[in-house]
Symmetry: C2
Subunit: 321 residues, 2 copies
Amino acid sequence: MTADLIKRIFEPHFSNPILLTGNDFAELIIKKGRIVVSTDSHIVQPLFFPGGDIGKLAVCGTVNDVAMSGAVPKYLTAGFIIEEGFEIQNLEEIAESMQAAAKEAGVDIVAGDTKVIEKGKGDGVFINTTGVGVLEEDFHIGGENARPGDAVIISGTVGEHGMAVLSARGDLGLESQIQSDVAPLNGLIRQLLHVCPDVHVLRDPTRGGLATTLNEIACQSDVCIQIQEKNVPVLPAVRTACEMLGFDPLYVANEGKVIIILPETQVEKALKVLHEHPYGKKAQRIGGVKESPKGRVLLHTALGTNRILETLSGEMLPRIC
Amino acid sequence: MTADLIKRIFEPHFSNPILLTGNDFAELIIKKGRIVVSTDSHIVQPLFFPGGDIGKLAVCGTVNDVAMSGAVPKYLTAGFIIEEGFEIQNLEEIAESMQAAAKEAGVDIVAGDTKVIEKGKGDGVFINTTGVGVLEEDFHIGGENARPGDAVIISGTVGEHGMAVLSARGDLGLESQIQSDVAPLNGLIRQLLHVCPDVHVLRDPTRGGLATTLNEIACQSDVCIQIQEKNVPVLPAVRTACEMLGFDPLYVANEGKVIIILPETQVEKALKVLHEHPYGKKAQRIGGVKESPKGRVLLHTALGTNRILETLSGEMLPRIC
């Protein structure tokens, strides 16, 4: 519905070639160089969850969106909308966690803004972050660049963020040790691009999970993406929780994973460098790109059957980021 | 209280030289050039008011913050937090008005994000905008640069935005024809800087009005700013509404005005170019900068007395932008 909203309401009004590329970042051509910006508002509920909080999420989410362009994230802005009566101590904890994440990612928070709204007109705190990065190399990375013959890699296990947030809401109805995977991926991506500069697509499977993000890419590139279910890494705890609740981990949000699409010949090199990084230890080749059926994602299931992986319609887990 | 919050909570955590300059913009030193970013979240209530709406405000507010650095605003990002059940037609109207303002300002909205929250957890729509501008010239403009001997100019009448929003809330208890002054000032500023490149300070007197903004500048520059009350232009309708409600127009928010501080010798040239521009027709020299008392703003009243103009404490008019 959000996609529909954007298509119907915002695109016709804001229409310009940069916005319409359909990526999560905007590449800005400045007279003497190329910079990249990306923006994201964060409304996750609850604000604190196993493995992170809204602050860490706000920094990592935007750092990752900028990094997906191949740019080096450098600067962040942060805009806070705070509900009257919100605990200062919580705000402090959130700010600390933002700074820790910014430090790890090597970015500075260079501009900020704070607005306060009456009690009952907000929900604790909402945080917008906007990131600016610099593109020094001549990469050609984007959702529109997947080509038949390419391989598809995922940098690690899927579904942790969504299930961690759900468990923090008490919605699982069970004790869970699942931690969110929220992490800045710019370091991992930098090392990957150093070894494999001709990566075609980088995208983080956040809202809607792996399945929805692969569908976006299949549409943008006008290709078919085929995935082997058995090769998609899922933690046992996530698999169990998903089974009990009737969720499919392929549709659950991630905040520290990246989909990498690149020429088949580069898979071995890529996996080697990914496996050496703390955030890429469980990276796997999960499938490949074919000519047709165009715009489709096909899943070869563990049972040996094939089925179409549709885009998630509606929002399975609201306020997950 | 917001200033206190920023000082206590955010500055210690995000501390870096760029953030700590205390201006509304961040100047980013990128290897091959200088760009400027600024961010602002908008929570104005009601969303539509005489002379504008939250969309026009969100674009102009950030365009103006970037322009106050001397940079040319080029790109905006926009992040929307929308309450479930919000009328699509209203959103459309807001988007239209954003695009119209962006067009007038000559900027493109290059990245966006939309989040939806449950009914009762938000208030219609909140909009964050982040602006990116390019600084091509070697200006030295900033709140810290006011010098004894400088003159202080205001680009037009003060207090319209705050009173227009109040009247839209029905809080005036009277029929009012006051229109918000919300407007993109980058064109006006560009023409000014073309003629007077050695402007010392540019700042838009938004929340807290002219008096509060002058206090910020007096503190940052460690000087005294002296203002002649009779020279500050105020529309009769604003003056009447303020008198009836016990407000001082010097403390009421503006969204289309700029304070200009520059060497006394340049006043005539500056006023000439301002008066030629639609947004500067009523520009006036309203005072000057002295050595001491440092950090103070003195008002020479229409009655011939002198008094200290304090910073607004608390927020006289909440949710005005």
